[in-house]
């Protein structure tokens, strides 16, 4: 059954949208990420204009993060102090990001920049995750037990001022660090239509040195607000949030995320990392190839209102 999307101005099969929402929601629950990095490219593939896909997906990320955050909250796995500081950076970053988005849209470069951001940022993270996963999985096979290293590495950024004690995460680090990470991820989430979990989660683990258990809940917490900010600004500045599309995706993704979270809790972290890495690399590889392939028509058309 076809449904006409009022903002995207195309008609799409309802069942297809529900299935997309469900599938991506499942993966997002499984890996503890927003799922935007999969949904946005798929939406573009289905024929939704990239600007609408990005903005609508931001709206969808709110719902899947809310639905996911409760479970982590109940287990006490949300570091609210860390979350608020990340959020402050994320708010500024996403506001700047939507501004950049509007500018690029007017210049006709937004599609390219969206693709490039995916390839560069997501691709790198995916590759690293995959390698790390492979290493960890094969290492465990050999030694038969988990390797216990240092709690976290010490780097130059641990010398930054404004140190704050994060009791829940058992960290004593500079507030500038989560602020900066939040800012950077905020920009990316506005341009790429993602919550930013794929950068936030590794950054919190490797740069901040947060305990892995605390990372997912805290990142979901801050993603809710950053995605809300992006949705709001996109709706006001670009009028590209399609409520009908968002609702249809929501239904599937909220249900899917619940199943994903349950299964994810039973799986080993290393395997999750390996699988997520492989998935990310595949998505980025496709986008990268599309940039390299000679287009069928060098000219493309855009209707202006």
């Amino acid at each position: 059954m076809q449904i006409y999307l009022p903002i995207a101005e195309i008609s799409v099969d309802i069942i297809l949208l529900l299935a997309m929402g469900g599938g991506v929601g499942f993966l997002s629950g499984l890996f503890g990420v927003g799922g935007g990095f999969l949904m946005t490219p798929i939406l573009i593939l289905v024929g939704v204009p990239p600007a609408v896909a990005v903005a609508t997906q931001a709206n969808n990320v709110i719902a899947s993060s809310v639905s996911g955050v409760f479970a982590h909250w109940k287990r006490g796995n949300v570091d609210f102090l860390m979350g608020w500081i990340l959020l402050a950076g994320g708010f500024i970053g996403s506001t700047v990001g939507v501004g950049i988005f509007t500018l690029l849209k007017n210049l006709g470069q937004i599609d390219l920049v969206i693709s490039l951001c995916y390839v560069i940022f997501l691709g790198t993270i995916g590759l690293l995750m995959m390698l790390e996963g492979i290493k960890a999985v094969s290492h465990r096979r050999k030694t038969g037990g988990a390797r216990r290293g240092k709690l976290h590495e010490h780097n130059w950024f641990h010398g930054l001022p404004l140190k704050v004690r994060f009791r829940k995460s058992r960290l004593y680090i500079s507030a500038l660090l989560p602020l900066g990470i939040g800012f950077f991820v905020g920009i990316l989430s506005a341009i790429m239509g993602v919550g930013g979990g794929f950068i936030l989660v590794p950054a919190m683990i490797y740069m901040l040195g947060m305990p892995t258990a605390m990372v997912i809940g805290t990142s979901l917490f801050q993603i809710i607000f950053v995605a809300a900010n992006v949705t709001f600004l996109q709706a006001v500045q670009n009028q590209t949030v399609d409520i009908v599309l968002a609702l249809l995706l929501l239904v599937g993704s909220v249900l899917g995320a619940q199943f994903g979270t349950r299964i994810g809790a039973k799986m080993q972290g290393d395997w999750l990392r390996l699988l997520l890495g492989a998935l990310v690399v595949m998505v980025c590889g496709k986008l990268f190839l599309d940039l390299l392939v000679t287009p069928a028509d060098f000219y493309s058309l855009e209707m202006v209102r």
């Binding site: 006409y4 009022p6 709206n59 009028q239 409520i243 968002a246 390299l292 000219y299």
Partner: protein
């Protein structure tokens, strides 16, 4: 309660029109052309995935028939891609202002054969006469020609422009019918459907009938709201997302 007429399928409406025309148009022979559409209003609703419009008409003397459907004017942006460091990116953009957002031609024969060049130029019939050329200040010569060709090619591919050179079917001596397709992404606004009766390349009579394409119902309201009340729309979208995320959580906690 919907009138009986609106509950009929486009085909049924067409057949009905045909019957009326056969009854009314032929004996009187008062006008040279009679014409009507299966529907003067195309409503874009939730289930919209394109539509077909049937056109029926009659002419009272021999000759050729040409139908031109023209949509409201709109601005278009064209981007040209080039390879930069191995990657294809838009390197040039050209804006085409006030050109028809929809343009379809159907005739009893190829346009060049049934209408003389002068007739086409004077009446703005055919892709060469609807202002697709860039102003000389923007581009000239071969470059301008390339932009224009690409614009036309893209509009044809998108279904905004259609060229069916011999799609008009005569049913007997006087009655004719044709059909044109509005794509799912059809631009909204006021259309005009012009029917020309030609002989030896000259227009001997013409009739124009209106066609309206508009978003109806919830779709139209959502679109208007998004474009005129962006702030409220944004807040509304966020609230919906928050509530449905929370409900998803609740539903699963209980179950």
């Amino acid at each position: 309660m919907t009138p009986l007429w609106q509950r009929l399928s486009p085909l049924a409406r067409g057949v009905f029109l045909l019957a009326v025309l056969a009854f009314v148009a032929l004996p009187k022979q008062s006008r040279a052309i009679e014409v009507d559409l299966s529907s003067h209003l195309v409503a874009i609703t939730a289930g919209f995935s394109g539509d077909k419009i049937l056109l029926f008409g009659s002419i009272n003397s021999p000759g050729e028939v040409l139908v031109v459907v023209r949509g409201p004017d709109a601005d278009f942006k064209m981007h040209r891609k080039e390879q930069v460091a191995g990657i294809w990116m838009n390197t040039a953009t050209m804006r085409f202002e006030k050109i028809p957002s929809f343009y379809a031609i159907a005739g009893t024969g190829p346009l060049e054969e049934i209408a003389s060049p002068t007739t086409r130029a004077l009446n703005g019939i055919g892709f060469d006469h609807i202002g697709l050329e860039l102003p000389v200040t923007k581009a000239a010569g071969r470059i301008a020609e390339q932009w224009k060709d690409s614009l036309l090619r893209n509009l044809l591919r998108a279904g905004n422009y259609q060229l069916a050179s011999a799609e008009i079917v005569f049913l007997g001596e006087h009655l004719f019918k044709t059909e044109f397709e509005l794509p799912a992404n059809v631009p909204t606004g006021s259309y005009s459907v012009s029917v020309y009766h030609l002989r030896e390349g000259q227009i001997i009579d013409a009739r124009t009938t209106p066609l309206s394409v508009s978003k109806i119902g919830a779709e139209a309201e959502i679109y208007d709201y998004a474009h005129h009340q962006g702030t409220m729309y944004g807040i509304f979208a966020i609230v919906i997302a928050l509530v449905s995320g929370w409900m998803g959580h609740l539903a699963f906690r209980k179950g």
